[in-house]
Assembly symmetry: C2
Homo-oligomer: 197 residues x 2
């Protein structure tokens, strides 16, 4: 049995995504070996995280407000096309799309997926906020993941947004660039046939 | 690109064992979603860790000193057999053996392994401290891992301790309890044949 301080931190780390009790133990022993200053810096970074970082009131992306700004760097960028809205499941998906430098519209972070159209699942998502943002745009790209949950969510959103009469699109399906036919799964290969040009 | 506070914490988490940049990002977004109080508790646990936890001056196990004690709960337990010393590579190995409740001697945490008998590797280990502790014991159990590094370390320790003329033993090799022959590797099966009784 580990000592109380160690045990407490193990339990706290065990709540991290992908971290089980064994990994949590390794984390704690790693921290025990760090120089005192580094441990202090980590503790400080964690405690100041929520103080420094706010959610953008438009897209819900975490950002650090500059000049008392209300929106994040992307949403307040006047060069961005406000008629285009890209809906993603979560924060990291937004950053991944942003890295391609191919998208010049704005984003909206839905906050998850609906897998079985459960009422609890749907209530957790930012559906109402999306409907509000949707009124002022011409096209909504439903950039949910190509997974069962992502597909179900896109279908649900399409139905929800239909009364607003806005063009909704999805990300193209096909072979990943640099991949080989031999290793593509049937679904992907099928989509790449459908999307041939 | 993530905001400075987020980026900084991603870099800090990336230094954790088994954590890559992707997992570090997930950790940070997980923390962003936590209630403020929970984040404060985590930060507090981390900053107080090294203040609360000391290394036992005998076995180097991390523990929280009670009544200005110098040694940990195990080392200061008078029921423990002081003539028996179990050498382990790291802290978690000690706790794993302790859980079996089969061992009534004391421990010594070596602090790692020597894989290629590199001078730098050896200097990091607590060899000198082990030699000091060894003088007062009758048997030393070299409980290093049954890996290449662990075996090399055990051999190195055996040679190092030889001049002291103390009985050194190793943990028995064989089939894991509950395992099946079919899934045992050749080395393990070979050892289990050698150790048949």
């Amino acid at each position: 049995m580990y000592s109380p301080s160690i045990q407490k931190l193990i339990e706290q780390f065990s709540k991290f995504p992908t971290v089980g009790p064994r990994t949590a133990v390794r984390f704690v022993f790693h921290l025990l070996k760090l120089p005192k200053e580094e441990l202090g810096r980590l503790s400080e970074s964690i405690s100041s995280l929520q103080k420094e970082v706010k959610l953008c009131s438009f897209c819900f992306r975490p950002f650090e407000p500059f000049d008392a700004a209300q929106g994040c760097e992307i949403c307040s960028d006047i060069r961005r096309d406000k008629a285009l809205l890209c809906v993603v499941e979560k924060e990291t998906d937004l950053e991944t799309i942003e890295k391609t430098k191919k998208y010049q519209g704005r984003y909206f972070i839905l906050g998850g997926t609906v897998s079985k159209l459960m009422k609890e699942d749907i209530e957790k998502l930012r559906i109402k906020e999306l409907q509000e943002r949707a009124r002022d745009v011409k096209e909504i790209i439903l950039a949910t993941n190509p997974t069962t949950e992502g597909e179900a969510t896109a279908l649900y959103l399409e139905r929800t947004l239909k009364p607003l009469n806005i063009k909704t699109t999805r990300l193209g399906r096909g072979l990943p660039v640099g991949g080989e036919l031999e290793y593509a799964d049937e679904e992907t290969l099928g989509s790449s046939l459908d999307n041939r040009k």
